[in-house]
């Protein structure tokens, strides 16, 4: 029998031959060094292919998928929480502002004259100025709305609306930009 071709050797190795062909080829391989060597080469390739070299998958895959599929808070829940938080902040802000407007806190700070209270007093004054500025802006928007659309909403509602709007925009920017940047960094 003449030497086997590569296909016959491969089929013998994969045991896809019928019993007659299989015994003929086996007999030849036993007596032919060249074909035996060729079979060894195929077996070496086959055995190494059967045990693929697997490198570790980057952790970013799992992290991204879990965060995407199971966010700690849903988008709606996060948004509602933020709106509620901003509303609370506004209420507290308005309360503090009116307290500042009466100067009751500042007067209380001035009763004692050490450095610590004067620093606190300056901070309180600064916050008061910021609130006054914001209130002036809300009053202006309110006046503009009244002049253009002839509607009177009220400074408090305008302020609440703008606070919610501002926080919603910040949240959306955070979601779109910051998380995208974080993901791309993790992927690297």
């Amino acid at each position: 029998m003449k030497c086997l071709n590569n296909k016959q050797i491969n089929d013998y190795m994969e045991k896809t031959l019928n019993s007659m062909e299989y015994s003929l080829i086996r007999d030849h391989i036993l007596s032919c060094g060249k074909c035996r060597e060729s079979l060894k080469h195929y077996e070496l390739i086959e055995n190494n292919l059967k045990e693929p070299e697997l490198k570790e998958a980057p952790a970013a895959i799992e992290q991204f998928v879990m965060r995407k599929l199971f966010p700690r808070f849903s988008h709606v829940a996060s948004l509602i929480t933020l709106i509620a938080a901003s509303f609370m902040l506004l209420i507290v802000g308005i309360y503090i502002y009116f307290d500042f407007a009466n100067d009751s806190m500042i007067k209380a700070f001035h009763l004692t004259k050490d450095n610590a209270t004067s620093i606190i007093s300056s901070i309180v004054k600064f916050v008061s100025v910021v609130f006054s500025g914001l209130l002036a802006i809300f009053k202006a928007i309110n006046a503009l709305l009244e002049a253009l659309l002839n509607v009177h909403i009220g400074v408090e509602i305008t302020g609440t609306f703008f606070a919610i709007l501002l926080i919603t925009i910040s949240y959306l920017i955070y979601n779109k930009l910051f998380l995208k940047l974080k993901d791309s960094r993790q992927n690297k």
Binding site: N48, L49, P52, A57, M66
Partner: protein, 191 residues
Amino acid sequence: MKLDEDQSLIKDILKGDKRSFEKLMKKYNRRIYNFIYRMIRDEESSIELSQEFFIKIYTVMYKYNFQYKFSTWAYRICYNLVIDHIRKNQVQIDSLDGKDIKQKQILDHTGTQLKDGYHNLEKEEIKTIVWDVVDTIPVKYRELILLRYMQGLKYDEIAEFTGLPVGTVKNRIFKAKEILKMEMVKNEMFK
């Protein structure tokens, strides 16, 4: 019907158990990532495609038929994702199948090969060389080698995945092994 390990996890996932999905992902993550990476040979895209794969698996899990093996179903989704990616990026992928890379990667190992021959190479080194050569063969052979040996699919399953006749699948896999053998002979690895 008796459920296997994967199918039990899927049942829990469908009930909303995220820990089961995490377990399933941990089990397949490495194999899926390596399959994708060896198909497209771009780390960043491989990560993105792996992420896309797991998100897709989760969102279409309700369509899974418990009569079939989960791995076969999942590998088919993975294969289709990769093929779509390759079609969209045909030029870049094809350009990597050139001879330059083939020779370069083989040459990276020839120092050791020429000195010792494969008998003296460590088992792990031979495996690395064999798989490095796999990385350099054309996609039409490489995809079948990966489906057969990395995903452990049978010839008829590969034929179903790829839409090729079983005979063609067998011939291409044999041809791929011939290429591997030729490369190894050329680099005197069988001495």
